[in-house]
């Protein structure tokens, strides 16, 4: 990719960004920035692509097929364990935006301590929902081998699993959380969509949704990255000053699916997770490393060698504004 | 040759007076590619009584096989009526046996299973069916080849398997389309014997398509000569030679020679018409 040649403050560089599910509420700032026209204002031509199913977005970026990814921060650490340098340039969320939802039919789960012998849903094996579930269980004295992990996906499959007893509880994001609650199928047990809830659950903040790029790209295209940072930071500020209904109104109409009210509700529930300035929250990376270092096979082996300072930079958000 | 009993068997099936096969103005047209119709046979009217043996001769491609396919119920007539045992033909009439001109034995069954097929279809127990099949395999001279598959047989052997397959079901209406064409002269005579033995005892009506006039005359009660295509019945020659007949003897008798000449002349005309038509059509 000849992106380096475009790295000129006056030119309008082309950047392609892969979003790990463009219509997920946790990744909403990406589409919102485009809808608000902030990319154009910042002088960057962004091509948003969606990759609905998780981890291979990073592979695609590392293979040079896209320039940036909007995804979970924890991937930067996992990748460093594989000697790949990827850094978060704008941190969109300071908490995972996930919640452990318990089926209403199963009243035996009152806290994470009751996970033993239960079927716990995650979106896919090896995802952050998987690691967070393991972390929560262990922290509450339940060994990971005492419960069974079930891949339940997100969306309807998760809801159906809750309803028909395929899982007793599960970790997922909005709008699945809001839908489950709305349909009376589940209630939120551990809410990691807010700062307080996350701190209570994990003992610290857990930075999640972020824009990350390869270190090489950042080094070679600082001006382009700066433009992206400018645009994203404006969006984060805009989010913090508008309410859920206003945000929902900016999004493409069909993102609301069949039920606009529910969509507003899920934005409302989830918007506290967003940062207001795009900065990495204090202590966040350490929590993430703690979680991955305990449960991810690849990270576990190299836990002590991980250099967290190479997994994110605040240089660009500092300059934004 | 075997002794042949009277050809009007008292135990013959079928209602007396009702022909076993009755074609009335039967016409068969095939759709061709350009949508027009090709007439294969035209206005064929013919009755065959129970217990009667009719040989059919005609120029190649005139419509003999087509006529048999109407009687067997495999193809419906376009115009006219076809009746077997007094019933209009719809689907395959009961008691019809048809030995096709083309190879029709099942390639995935060995000789024994192929011959036993008709009996198995009729619900006979395997052991019984096989016992009778073995008997028939010997009659057609294929003893020892029971477990061969058709592709391991010569052309003439396959024909004999088909023959046994058809005769084992003891049909009351027997249609044979050039059954002995691929056999050597002697085997052919042995098979003719077998056929006559079966037929004379059973009172079945038999329609026998052949190109061999000697064969036609020595086997049949009547020889039907068909015209050039679209075929219709041109001539019917009654063979009034006494049965049992010894081919080698009668073929030198004046009656035989006269019959032969009559049929031959009748047929030659038609063949020449066919031929001339083929030539003129291109000219």
């Amino acid at each position: 990719r000849g992106a380096a040649a475009d790295d000129d403050a006056s030119a309008t560089p082309n950047v392609s960004i892969m979003v790990g599910g463009i219509d997920k509420v946790i990744y909403l700032p990406a589409m919102l920035t485009e809808r608000l026209g902030y990319f154009d204002d910042a002088g960057v031509d962004v091509d948003l692509k969606t990759e609905p199913s998780g981890a291979s977005a990073e592979n695609v970026m590392l293979a040079g097929k896209v320039d940036g990814v909007v995804g979970f921060y924890d991937h930067t650490i996992a990748l460093q364990a594989q000697d790949k340098c990827v850094e978060s340039v704008v941190q969109l969320a300071k908490v995972p935006g996930e919640a452990e939802v318990v089926a209403t039919s199963s009243d035996s789960v009152g806290s994470a301590a009751d996970f033993g012998g239960k079927k716990l849903g995650v979106t896919s094996p090896g995802s952050s929902t998987d690691y967070l579930t393991q972390y929560l269980a262990t922290k509450n004295g339940v060994d990971t081998s005492d419960y069974s992990t079930v891949t339940a996906g997100a969306g309807s499959t998760f809801i159906a699993a809750l309803q028909n007893g395929g899982i007793d509880a599960g970790m997922t994001t909005d709008p699945t959380i809001a839908t489950a609650v709305d349909k009376g199928l589940g209630k939120v047990l551990i809410d990691m969509r807010t700062e307080e809830g996350t701190k209570a659950a994990l003992g610290g903040l857990y930075p999640a949704a972020s824009l990350y790029m390869t270190c090489d790209y950042v080094e070679q295209n600082p001006k382009t990255v700066q433009k992206l940072a400018d645009a994203f930071v404006r969006t984060m500020q805009w989010i913090s000053t508008h309410d859920a209904a206003e945000i929902a109104a900016e999004m493409p109409a069909d993102y609301a699916g069949g039920d606009p009210e529910l969509y507003v509700q899920s934005i409302k529930d989830s918007s506290p997770m967003f940062t207001t300035d795009g900065r990495m929250p204090e202590g966040g990376p350490e929590t993430v490393l703690d979680v991955l270092g305990t449960f991810s096979d690849t990270v576990k082996a190299k836990k002590d060698d991980i250099d967290l300072s190479k997994t994110y930079t605040t240089e660009f958000v500092d300059n934004a504004g | 040759m075997t002794d042949i009993t009277s050809r009007r068997d008292p135990h013959a099936p079928g209602v007396p007076g009702v022909p076993a096969i009755s074609l009335r103005g039967a016409t068969k047209r095939f759709a061709t590619k350009d949508g027009s119709a090709f007439t294969a046979i035209r206005d064929v009217t013919l009755d065959v009584a129970p217990g009667e043996f009719v040989a059919v001769v005609g120029p190649t491609g005139c419509g003999k096989s087509t006529t048999l396919s109407l009687v067997s119920g495999l193809e419906p007539a376009s115009v006219g009526t076809v009746e077997v045992a007094g019933q209009p033909v719809e689907g395959i009439p009961d008691g019809v046996g048809y030995m096709f001109q083309a190879d029709a034995v099942l390639p995935w069954k060995n000789v024994l299973d192929n011959v036993a097929l008709g009996l198995r279809y009729r619900g006979l127990r395997r052991a019984d069916a096989e016992a009778r099949a073995r008997d028939w395999i010997n009659r057609v001279g294929l003893g020892g080849f029971e477990d061969r598959y058709p592709h391991q047989l010569s052309g003439g052997m396959r024909k004999r398997v088909a023959m046994a397959q058809t005769l084992i079901t003891e049909p009351t209406v027997l249609l044979l389309d050039e059954p002995f064409g691929a056999l050597d002269v002697q085997t052919r005579e042995l098979m003719q014997d077998e056929l006559l033995t079966l037929w004379s005892g059973s009172g079945a009506a038999c329609v026998f398509v052949t190109h061999d006039l000697t064969e036609a005359i020595s086997l049949a009660d009547r020889v039907v000569v068909m015209t050039a295509g679209p075929a219709t019945v041109k001539d019917v020659v009654t063979v009034d030679l006494p049965r049992p007949r010894r081919v080698e003897e009668i073929r030198l008798t004046p009656e035989f020679i006269q019959l032969y000449k009559r049929i031959w002349d009748s047929l030659r005309e038609e063949v020449e018409i066919t031929r001339a038509r083929g030539a003129s059509r291109v000219a």
């Binding site: 993102y255 609301a256 069949g258 | 047209r29 027009s36 115009v79 689907g91 019945v233």
Partner: protein, 294 residues
């Protein structure tokens, strides 16, 4: 026992130019049959939709199963208002283009390789386990590899469609090439057919019905491939539309997307059937007579 010997007319024309009444009867019977078929089909659809609608309004939860009226609304919406990923037509065009390309390339490769290996015993013995093993590789895994290899453009989806189409066509062409009647091959060899002429005039025509049978499945597969590819990473296409609906609890959207895919497949199917009719025009008019009695 009676017999009428007909005197034959002097010059009966062998071809009957104007269809006789019987023939017209045949034809009208065929067309009556066609309309019966259409009627039964429509009836089936109506019964199915009505019972679905009814069930969704009473027993089953339209949250999961949607219902025809909602699907219809969603379709109207897509076609009049467009979707969040641009006009529905351009989404359809993208998916169709990917599928068609994958289909064409996959069919071509499948036929060529299938026929060649079908006739080259040694080569096929050596390669068989590799091809059979490759066929078992899950296509979703392949799809993500393709994105890495070919990028996010059209090519990765075409590649996914290709691998689905290729195997379906390959195995049938292969078997078709093996099933050729030995006596036909022998005859052509005696008549002096070169290797290439043999392929063209004997093996390929004989394997045609095998190849066509696989093509019927294959276009559906090509569409699936394109959609799987889109699921793995894309910016437009029906796959994204469906995926988007999945992420938003929009059951109506899922079914509407599937419906559009189905219609596309039926369109392609129609074309393949036309091709089939042309290629097999030499055959006896298929066994309707026969099927009636069976």
């Amino acid at each position: 026992m009676s017999l009428d010997t007909q005197t034959r007319p002097t010059a009966e024309p062998q071809q009957v130019p104007a269809p006789s009444p019987t023939f017209r009867l045949f034809r009208s019977r065929a067309s009556r049959r066609r309309s019966t078929v259409a009627l039964v089909r429509v009836l089936l659809i109506v019964v199915w939709l009505a019972s679905w609608e009814l069930a969704a309004r009473t027993v089953i939860d339209p949250f999961y199963y949607s219902m025809p009226s909602q699907i219809w609304d969603r379709l109207v919406d897509w076609f009049t208002e467009g979707t969040s990923m641009g006009s529905i037509w351009s989404n359809m065009a993208v998916t169709l283009e990917e599928a068609v390309l994958g289909f064409v390339i996959g069919t071509f490769a499948g036929v060529v390789l299938g026929i060649v290996l079908g006739r080259a015993r040694f080569l096929s013995d050596v390669l068989a386990p590799f091809i059979k093993g490759a066929n078992a590789i899950p296509r979703i895994v392949l799809a993500s590899l393709f994105v890495i290899w070919f990028g996010l453009g059209m090519s990765s989806k075409v590649a996914t469609a290709f691998v689905l189409v290729f195997f379906a066509v390959f195995f049938n062409s292969f078997q078709g090439a093996r099933e050729v009647d030995k006596v036909l091959v022998d005859n052509a060899r005696i008549l002096g057919a070169s290797r290439w002429a043999m392929m063209r005039t004997v093996i390929l025509p004989s394997a045609t019905s095998w190849i066509l049978a696989s093509m019927h499945v294959a276009f559906g597969f090509a569409l699936i491939g394109a959609i799987v590819g889109e699921f793995t990473g894309a910016d437009q296409g029906l796959g994204l539309l469906i995926n988007h609906a999945q992420g938003n609890f929009d059951a109506a959207g899922i079914y509407a997307g599937m419906l559009i895919v189905t219609v596309l497949a039926l369109g392609a199917e129609w074309l393949i059937t036309r091709l089939e009719q042309r290629l097999t025009s030499w055959r006896p008019p298929s066994g309707s007579e026969l099927a009636r009695d069976l």
